[in-house]
Amino acid sequence: MIEKEDPVISEEEAAQYDRQIRLWGLDAQKRLRGSRVLLAGLGGLGAEVAKNLILAGVKGLTLLDHEQVSEESCRAQFLVPVTAQGQNRAKASLERAQNLNPMVKVHADPDRIEDKPDDFFLQFDATASFCTLKEALAVDWTSEKAKAGLKRTPVDYFLLQVLLKFRTDKGRDPDPQSFPEDSQLLRQIRDDVLESLSLNSDLLNDDFISYCFSEMSPVCAVVGGVLGQEVVKALSQRDAPHRNFFFFDGRKGNGVVDYFGPN
C-alpha cells in the first residue's frame, strides 16, 4: 500500500535526488519515497535491480533469497563480499546494499518465496498487473495467426521456454560443472519444446547452449537497468510500462519489447 500521508522530501534528499527529480518530477519522487518493494533472488540480475531501486530512493526494499553464497557468487554480483561463502545470499548482500543509500530501509530475508504466507506480500506496494507468466507462455502456435506472427517473434521467447523447462526438470539452472550432460539435456529440451509447439527445431540452433551456463555481468546490467526502470515507473505511476516481455540479445545488441498473452 502506498503511504497514506504525503511523504516529505527533506533538503538532504532533495540534494541527493536532484538530478532525478529534474527528470521525473517531485511527485514521482514522493511516490517512490513511499513505496516498499520485495525483490526475490539476489543473483547477478537481482543485485543490479536492488542497486537501481535503492539509488532511486524507495522507502524500503526487502531482499528475499534462500540460496547460499557459492564460490561463484562473489564474482557474479557486487553486493556479496568475497569472504561470505556459505552465508545466506540475501543476508550477505545486506550491508553493501544498505550503504548504497542509507535513506532506504533495506531488509534481508533468507526464506523461500514458496514458504511465505499470502499476507506477507500485502506489506508491499502493488505493481501493474500483467497476465500471468503461465498464460504468456501458453500461446497456441498452431493457429495461422500465430504462425504469421512467428517471423517477428524474438527467438529468445523460445529460449526462455527451454530454460524454464530445464529449471523445472532439474530444480536448478545449467551448471558449468556438468557442462556435457546439461548441454545434452538442453538440446533435448529444445527439440521437445519446439516439437510440442509444432515448430521446426532449427528455429533455435545449437549456439544457444553455450550462453545458458551463467549470468554475464554486462547482460545483467542491461536487463537490470530496464527492469529497474520498469519498477520505478510502476511505483511512481509515471509513464506507461513496457508490454509485456523484454528480450535482450547481447550479441546483436537488440532489445525488443513484445507482447505474449491473451489478446
Binding site: R19, Q20, L26, A56, P81, F213, A221, Q229, G250, G255
Partner: protein, 646 residues
C-alpha cells in the same frame, strides 16, 4: 567442444584477464562501467577523472557514498571497485586526460579505451589520441532516459569528429544587453554580471546597455555616431564594471540602482527599441523596500528551491549574495577572481536574484532557483538505470573488439519507448570514415571565413584553433615560403603576436596556415577566405557549415517535457559560448537500422518514429523530431553524456 570460463570462450577469457584497458571518466557511466569490467574479469584497468565527488552524484554514481563527498572520483571509484574484486589491478588518476603527460605512448599501453565523459572538448581530444595511437575507442553518452554507445576504430569507422556536431548556441550581444525576451537571456546576463563583478572580466561578456545596437538607430549614420560618442564620452564603458563596483565598495544598493534602475532608464532613451516591444520598467530599491507586503505563509509541500519569491525577495537575495561574494573576494586578497559554480550557494543565489530582477523588469514571469539552476548550470537530468544499461552495452562491444569481431560492432541507441519495430535498444551498422573529415582524413583541410584586418592572432588561437578545432597546445605557421611562426605552443614565445591582426603578417585571401598539435599528432591545414562582413557578433565561419545561431523562440506546439512538475518551458540552449561548468553533448544520430533503413518520409509519418527524436539539452527529454537535413544548430551541450549529431 568449446571450453568455457563462465560464459566466455577460454581464449577470450584469457585475453580479458591479461589486457590493459583505460576508462576515461569515473562519473555516471564510469562507475557502472568499472563495476561491469571487474565482474566480467578484466584485471588491468586504469581510470582517470579530474573531478571530485558531489552530493548530487550519489543518486547514480554508486561507488561513492556520502562520506566521500569532496574526494577524488577516480580514487574512490578504484577503492570501491577493489572491494568486489581485490585481485584486480586498478590505477586511478585524479587528473585531466588532456594533460600532456597522457601522450600517444601512454595510450598505446591499452588494448581498448572507453570514454565515460561529459564534455566535447575531452571527447575530441581522446578521439585524436586514439587515432594517433590506433587504439579502438568505445564512445558513449546518456541524458535522462536516452543513451548511446558507438565504436571508433581508425580507418574502419567514422571518428568522433567525422560528422560535424552542432556548435554551442550563443546569443547576440544586443539581446543580452538591451532587449532580452526570454528568461535564458536574463540568466546569461546574470552570469556575465557575476564575471564582470567578481570573476574574470571578458570583453565578450558586457552587461551594460549596448549603445551601438543597430536596432536602436533610426538611421545607419546614427549607429556610427552613437558608437564613437560612447568611446569619446568616457562613460561607464570605459571604466570597467569591476573597477566601478570596487569604487563603491560593492555596495549592494548602489549596484542595484545602477543595474536595475539607471541602466534601464538609459535603455528607455533608445526609444526605437521599444516601438514594437514592451518597454522595460526600472526598479527602485527604496520604493520596493517601503512598499514591502507582509509575507504570506510559504506553502509547506514542495522544495524550498522550487518556490518563486516576490520581487522584494529577490532584492534581498541580491543583497545577501553580493555581501557574501564580496567577503569571499576580500578573503582571497588582491587581484582575486571568483569562478562561477552552480553548486556554490552564494554564486547561484546571485545569478538567481539578478536574473529574476531582470526578468521582472522585462515583464517576464520570474523563475524558481531550481529552474534557474537548470538553465544557468546546463544541468542534464540523470538516473542510474540509463547509465547501467549503457555501461553494460559498452562492455559487450568491448568483448566483440577483443574477440577480433570488429565487424559485429554497432552503434546502439537506447530509446525511452520501443520504436515501430518494437525495439527499445536499436543497433545500427557503423559508418566508414568520412573522406572530408577534418580530423581523420589523411591530409585534413578546412576553409575558414574571416576578416584578416579585424581578426587578432589571439582570436585565431583561442576561438578558432583551440575551441572550434579542438587543439589543446597548437603551433601555427604560415605557408608563406618562409614558414613564419604565428603561434607557438611554448609559453610566452609568441605572446607578442596576440593582439596583432592577421593582415599584419601578410595573411590575406587565399593564405594557408598550418596548425599542429604535437600531443594529438594532428596537423590541420587552414585555408583563409577573407570577407569584409560577417553576421553581427560572428567572428569567423567554417565553410561548409551553417552559422551557429540561437533559434527563434518556439511559438508552436513543440512541447518539451518539463523537469519540474507540469511546468512547460521551451528548450534552452547553453548560457555561454565557452565550455560551461557542466557541459555536455547530446548525440542524436538518425537511426538507420541494420535490418533495413526506414526512409525519412516513413519515419516522419510515424508517431513513435524509428528516428530518434531531438533531445532537449536541459531536460534530456525529447521534443519533436528534426529531419536529418535540418542544418540548424541543435540544443546540446550540458551536463552528461549524449553526443549530438543532426
Amino acid at each position: 567442444m568449446v571450453q568455457l570460463v563462465g560464459s566466455l570462450r577460454k581464449e577470450l577469457a584469457d585475453s580479458i584477464s591479461t589486457c590493459k584497458v583505460l576508462v576515461v571518466g569515473a562519473g555516471g557511466i564510469g562507475c557502472e562501467l568499472l563495476k561491469n569490467l571487474v565482474l566480467t574479469g578484466f584485471k588491468n584497468i586504469e581510470v582517470i577523472d579530474l573531478d571530485t565527488i558531489d552530493v548530487s552524484n550519489l543518486n547514480r554514481q554508486f561507488l561513492f557514498q556520502k562520506k566521500h563527498v569532496g574526494k577524488s572520483k577516480a580514487q574512490v571509484a578504484k577503492e570501491s571497485a577493489l572491494q568486489f574484486c581485490p585481485s584486480a589491478n586498478i590505477t586511478a588518476y585524479h587528473d585531466s586526460i588532456m594533460n600532456p603527460e597522457y601522450n600517444v605512448e601512454f595510450f598505446r599501453k591499452f588494448m581498448l579505451v572507453m570514454n565515460a565523459l561529459d564534455n566535447r572538448a575531452a571527447r575530441n581530444h581522446v578521439n585524436r589520441m586514439c587515432l594517433a595511437a590506433d587504439i579502438p575507442l568505445i564512445e558513449s553518452g546518456t541524458a535522462g532516459y536516452l543513451g548511446q554507445v558507438t565504436v571508433i576504430k581508425k580507418g574502419m569507422t567514422e571518428c568522433y569528429e567525422c560528422q560535424p556536431k552542432p556548435a554551442q548556441k550563443t546569443f547576440p550581444g544586443c539581446t543580452i544587453r538591451n532587449t532580452p525576451s526570454e528568461p535564458i537571456h536574463c540568466i546569461v546576463w546574470a552570469k556575465y554580471l557575476f564575471n564582470q563583478l567578481f570573476g574574470e572580466e571578458d570583453a565578450d561578456q558586457e552587461v551594460s546597455p549596448d549603445t551601438a545596437d543597430p536596432e536602436a538607430a533610426w538611421n545607419p549614420e546614427e549607429t556610427a555616431a552613437r558608437a564613437t560618442a560612447s568611446d569619446k564620452d568616457g562613460d561607464i564603458k570605459r571604466v570597467s564594471t569591476k573597477e566601478w563596483a570596487r569604487s563603491t565598495g560593492y555596495d549592494s544598493v548602489k549596484l542595484f540602482n545602477k543595474l536595475f534602475k539607471d541602466d534601464i532608464m538609459y535603455l528607455l532613451t533608445m526609444d526605437k527599441l521599444w516601438k514594437k516591444r514592451k518597454a522595460p520598467t526600472p526598479l527602485d530599491w527604496h520604493q520596493l523596500e517601503n512598499s514591502e507586503c507582509p509575507k504570506e505563509g510559504t506553502p509547506a509541500s514542495g522544495l524550498k528551491d522550487q518556490q518563486v519569491l516576490d520581487v522584494w525577495g529577490y532584492c534581498q537575495l541580491f543583497q545577501h549574495s553580493v555581501e557574501t561574494l564580496r567577503s569571499q573576494l576580500q578573503e582571497k586578497g588582491e587581484g582575486a577572481e571568483l569562478v562561477w559554480d552552480k553548486d556554490d550557494p552564494p554564486a547561484m543565489d546571485f545569478v538567481t536574484a539578478a536574473a529574476n530582477l531582470r526578468m521582472h523588469i522585462f515583464s517576464m514571469n520570474m523563475k524558481s532557483r531550481f529552474d534557474v539552476k537548470s538553465m544557468a548550470g546546463n544541468i542534464i537530468p540523470a538516473i542510474a538505470t540509463t547509465n547501467a544499461v549503457i555501461a553494460g552495452l559498452i562492455v559487450l562491444e568491448g568483448l566483440k573488439i577483443l574477440s577480433g569481431e570488429l565487424e559485429s560492432c554497432r552503434t546502439i541507441f537506447l530509446n525511452k519507448c520501443p520504436n515501430l519495430r518494437k525495439k527499445l535498444l536499436v543497433p545500427c551498422v557503423l559508418d566508414p570514415p568520412s573522406a572530408n573529415c577534418y580530423v581523420c582524413a589523411s591530409k585534413p583541410e578546412v576553409t575558414v571565413k574571416l576578416n584578416v584586418h579585424k581578426t587578432m592572432v589571439l582570436t585565431l588561437q583561442d576561438k578558432i584553433v583551440k575551441e572550434r578545432f579542438g587543439m589543446v597546445a597548437p603551433d601555427v605557421q604560415i605557408e608563406d615560403g618562409k614558414g613564419t611562426i604565428l603561434i607557438s605552443s611554448e609559453e610566452g614565445e609568441t605572446e607578442g603576436n596576440n593582439n596583432k591582426f592577421l593582415s599584419d603578417f601578410g595573411i590575406r585571401n587565399g593564405s594557408r596556415l598550418q596548425a599542429d598539435d604535437f600531443l594529438q599528432d594532428y596537423t590541420l591545414l587552414i585555408n583563409v577566405l577573407h570577407v569584409e562582413d560577417l553576421e553581427r557578433d560572428v567572428e569567423f565561419e567554417v565553410v561548409g557549415e551553417a552559422p551557429d545561431k540561437a533559434p527563434p523562440p518556439q511559438t508552436n506546439q513543440e512541447e518539451v517535457n518539463s523537469i519540474t512538475n507540469g511546468n512547460k518551458d521551451s528548450a534552452q540552449p547553453s548560457t555561454s559560448s565557452k565550455a560551461p561548468s557542466e557541459d555536455d553533448d547530446i548525440m542524436i544520430v538518425d537511426s538507420d537500422e541494420e535490418d533495413g533503413a526506414a526512409s525519412s518520409s516513413a519515419a516522419a509519418a510515424a508517431t513513435g518514429g524509428t528516428k530518434r527524436k531531438h533531445s532537449d539539452a536541459e531536460t534530456g527529454e525529447t521534443s519533436t523530431k528534426r529531419p536529418r537535413t535540418d542544418q540548424s544548430a541543435g540544443d546540446n551541450n550540458d551536463d552528461d553524456d549524449i553526443i549530438a549529431l543532426d
